[in-house]
């Protein structure tokens, strides 16, 4: 049932898949409006757009997990029944969704074949044949993994390979990848790219969704941009430059270029960290942050940045060293003491650590200050309302009303609420861990503006980010961590992406710097 022999290169002129005026609305909200698109065999077609632009809805309609309201999908001029996963798979359309579609407790063989098992007799599996074919598929991808090991024990990249193998086992003619590199390291990204190019050469079309311009320019043949559920345009990648592409996505000029003036005049030392160490995580961390200063903390993933922030906030207890707030040592390992000292941490994983998703915007904003907004020991609705209104106004949270659940908001607005929850405690020291992860371009600019205006009002800010342009745009000073140690410090004036990377990458890997920068710093730095 499988053809593992590879395919002949196909003429890339004629589209084999056509999407005609697809529309879809959810509960009255128009997610997709009259989107038309075609896909040619063997092309890598990038699909871009801000969060909420309709990319996910489009691929769900294509792969049959959602039924479009109107419009049609044709494969080789044959109409594809809407909302039918099996029919889409039979037509060769396979989607690897952003959320893991793997079965973590099962091995690669089951993961590849589930739903389309090979049988020898009615109702009995043909294990030897499944193993052979799984082996061949992995060979074709150039990856060797233990086929019996539960997927949860494999690396993210290996799990993704299994997902691709699953797609190939279904004779996929269109492979849909939704932000496949979001959690891959630079090397894993390279491997993925190699495999995608190989599949392309075999005539498989790839619809590639990514927020990363660099990846799109490195891989894609054509790019389609969606905005607010509408098609903005499809172009050969050579015909659009980055500025145009961003404008197409955002629909307006980005204000981010205001490369803000360095505040320069900073106040007293607010936060001082001396010789902080936690075995296995970080060692001998010493730095300080002044009032009104934004200090960027850069480094690769696993360099220990998040752990340092967690320790300053008292979630973890340092083995050695001390943390001083305005010269007063903090009780180690006590979140309560840190909050009392005026520290706030906006965590990296806002969906799990930063917000209580099913609760309303109001309740989330009140979580951290509920105790102080009371009247003789009972909740004071009046004080609460005033506090919530103030937060929402200052942050520019776009929500119909404070009573709606946070998980209905866009990523950017969620991040603002997560930030607002902590600002309500009126901190003097703000620890931001990846404040714009998963936030679209427009909302990013607003978060930046917010961080800057907080700094102007005297907030001491420690900004952890893997997004180098972000660190460069916001920081007055940049600290770089490598393998649990501070490896360098750069002033705003001297900092460049290359210099930060040179400090961040392990020593003696000069060659790697080149590769990393080439495959786009984001791939390296996101891995960062």
């Amino acid at each position: 049932m499988l053809s593992l022999t590879g395919r002949k290169p196909v003429d890339t002129r004629e589209p084999f898949l056509e999407i005609h005026e697809l529309s879809k609305s959810y509960a009255g909200v128009q997610a997709l409006t009259d989107v038309s698109l075609n896909i040619r065999p063997g092309e890598i077609h990038a699909l871009m757009g801000e969060n909420g632009a309709g990319k996910s809805t489009l691929i769900k309609c294509l792969s049959g997990s959602v039924r479009a309201d109107s419009g049609a999908v044709e494969v080789n001029s044959a109409l594809l029944p809407a909302g039918d996963i099996a029919a889409a798979e039979a037509a060769g359309i396979v989607a690897l969704h952003q959320e893991s579609t793997a079965f973590p407790h099962l091995g690669a063989i089951d993961n590849i074949f589930i739903g389309r098992e090979l049988r020898r007799a009615p109702g009995l599996l043909d294990r030897p044949r499944m193993r052979r074919e799984a082996h061949l598929l992995m060979e074709r991808l150039g990856e060797s993994i233990d086929l019996d090991r539960p997927l949860e024990d494999l690396s993210l990249a290996q799990r993704q390979m299994v997902g691709i193998a699953r797609a190939l086992s279904r004779r996929s003619r269109l492979l849909i990848l939704d932000e496949p590199t979001a959690s891959l390291s630079a090397r894993e990204t390279q491997t993925l790219f190699r495999i995608l190019r190989q599949l392309q050469a075999e005539g498989v079309a790839i619809l590639y969704i990514s927020h990363r311009l660099e990846e799109v320019y490195a891989l894609a043949d054509r790019v389609t941009v969606l905005r607010d559920g509408r098609l903005i345009g499809t172009h050969p990648i050579g015909d659009v430059d980055r500025g145009t592409l961003v404008r197409m996505m955002v629909g307006r000029e980005l204000l981010e270029q205001e490369q803000s003036e360095s505040i320069g005049a900073t106040g007293d030392v607010m936060l001082e960290v001396r010789g902080l160490s936690r075995p296995g995580e970080f060692a001998d961390i010493t730095f300080s942050v002044c009032a009104g200063e934004i200090v960027g903390l850069a480094g690769l993933i696993g360099a220990g940045r998040t752990e340092v922030a967690a320790t300053i906030f008292g979630i973890e207890c340092a083995r050695q060293g001390s943390i001083l707030v305005r010269g007063v040592p903090l009780i180690p390992g006590s979140v309560r003491a840190s909050i009392a000292g005026g520290i706030a941490l906006v965590p990296e994983d806002r969906q799990h650590e930063g917000l209580v998703l099913p609760l309303s915007v109001r309740d989330n904003l009140l979580l951290s200050v509920m105790n102080s907004l009371t009247h003789i020991g009972f909740r004071s609705r009046w004080k609460e309302r005033a506090s919530v209104e103030k937060s929402m106004r200052e942050l520019g949270v776009k929500a119909a009303n404070p009573g709606i659940a946070v998980n209905t908001l866009s990523g950017g607005n969620q991040q603002k609420v997560s930030l607002g929850k902590w600002l309500a405690t009126e901190p003097r020291i703000l620890l931001l861990d990846e404040p714009t992860r998963g936030v679209d371009v427009g909302a990013k600019a607003e978060v930046y503006r917010l961080i800057r205006s907080l700094a102007r009002s005297g907030m001491a800010t420690l900004l952890i980010s893997s997004d180098l342009p972000e660190i460069l745009a916001l920081s007055d000073r940049i600290l770089v961590m490598r393998e649990g140690r501070l490896s360098g410090e750069l002033s705003r004036a001297e900092a460049t992406e290359e210099k930060i990377l040179a400090f961040a990458l392990p020593a003696g890997l000069d060659a790697s710097l080149e590769t990393a920068t080439e495959t786009n710093i984001a791939a390296g730095s996101k891995a960062v």
Binding site: S65, S100, L125, S155, S185, A186, R187, L505, P506
Partner: protein, 344 residues
């Protein structure tokens, strides 16, 4: 090539305590081995203290006691693999026992034995199906559905019994409880057959693998085109059917049927499934694990007797069985933690 984070990502287990954590993994993953080891240790220790424990007669008696638990556990394992639970099987067994007795007892319906048995199996299957329908189409949590079912069934049972025991079971029915084939009790044949069938289903059929998959990640299962609700319906129905089988081969062992049949049975079976290594959140577990755990837990009471610890010692039975549950959950927790730490 580029940086160290890449390498650590590729080797999830730090080399330092690799062997230990690998061992822990394997033990947690393959709970069967741990349970089997404990089973053998218990058998040999108690056997050393009192050799009569290992006599053919005693072993056979213990297995006969375990048979209904093993049979029901095979069904419940599939339910738990799907992340659901069925706590109604105890009172289902009580009701089925009453139904079976009244259907064939000369002083009640006086039907032929084979018809009574068939109707009992159909009734069990039907109630399992009903549980499944409420959980899947009714979209209600299985713990609530089966808690309600537990109460309803035991209420109906009391009504049917009307305070009287059934004492006139026909000899044809008693055969299911005390009869033998090739010198081996019927109930052991039944248990053997059910276990083999369940193992085959779990390992060698698409249906079994899909149950694992749907329990492991229901969303992904849906995206893979599986009907998760059908799988659940199947598992609940199978559990109802197997509970009926367990009833038919265990209840006629005694010459009377009273209203207390099946009390606490659901707890024993749930304990077996959990101790046998099936994760209560679904996706992981095995039939063999559940069956071995049933044998292990079945050892507790005879062990206490054969160790001659005095009369009050047997009161410890429930406490020890409870400790097994807690140990099993603790083992799961530790395994998950070592795995998480290993990944850091």
């Amino acid at each position: 090539m580029t940086n160290r984070t890449v390498e650590t990502a590729d080797t999830p287990i730090p080399s330092g305590n690799r062997s230990l954590s690998t061992l822990l993994h394997r033990l947690a993953r393959q709970r069967e081995y741990a349970v089997l080891a404990l089973l053998i240790v218990t058998l040999s220790v108690v056997g050393a203290v009192n050799p009569a424990f290992l006599s053919g007669g005693n072993l056979r008696d213990m297995l006969v006691q375990d048979a209904p638990i093993v049979i029901a556990a095979c069904g419940l394992t599939f339910v738990v693999l799907l992340g659901e639970i069925d706590i109604s099987i105890g009172s289902l067994m009580g009701l089925l026992a009453t139904a079976l007795g009244q259907l064939c007892s000369p002083s009640h319906a006086a039907l032929p034995v084979w018809i009574a048995v068939t109707l009992t199996l159909l009734l069990g299957t039907g109630i399992g199906l009903l549980n499944g329908l409420m959980v899947t189409l009714g979209r209600m949590p299985s713990i609530i559905v089966t808690l309600g079912m537990l109460t309803v069934l035991s209420g109906i049972n009391l009504l049917l019994m009307n305070g009287k025991w059934i004492t006139d079971l026909p000899p044809g029915l008693r055969w299911f409880g005390v009869g033998t084939m090739l010198g081996i009790p019927i109930c052991l044949w039944a248990a053997l057959f059910v276990v083999l069938g369940a193992v085959l289903l779990a390992r060698e059929t698409p249906l079994g693998r899909r149950i694992y998959a749907a329990g492991s990640n229901p969303d992904a299962a849906r995206l893979a085109g599986l009907s998760v609700w059908k799988l659940k319906l199947f598992a609940f129905t199978l559990t109802g059917f197997l509970t009926a089988v367990a009833t038919v081969i265990s209840v006629p062992r005694l010459s009377v049927i009273e209203s207390g049949v099946g009390q606490g049975f659901e707890l024993l079976v749930v304990t077996c499934v959990v101790v046998g290594g099936t994760s209560i959140s679904g996706g992981r577990g095995s039939i063999i694990g559940s069956a071995l755990a049933a044998l292990l837990l079945g050892l507790v009471r005879p062990m206490l007797i054969f160790l001659r610890l005095g009369v009050s010692a047997s009161y410890w039975e429930r406490a020890i069985q409870g400790a097994f549950i807690l140990l099993a959950v603790l083992a799961d927790h530790l395994a998950r933690r070592t795995r998480r730490d290993a990944r850091r």
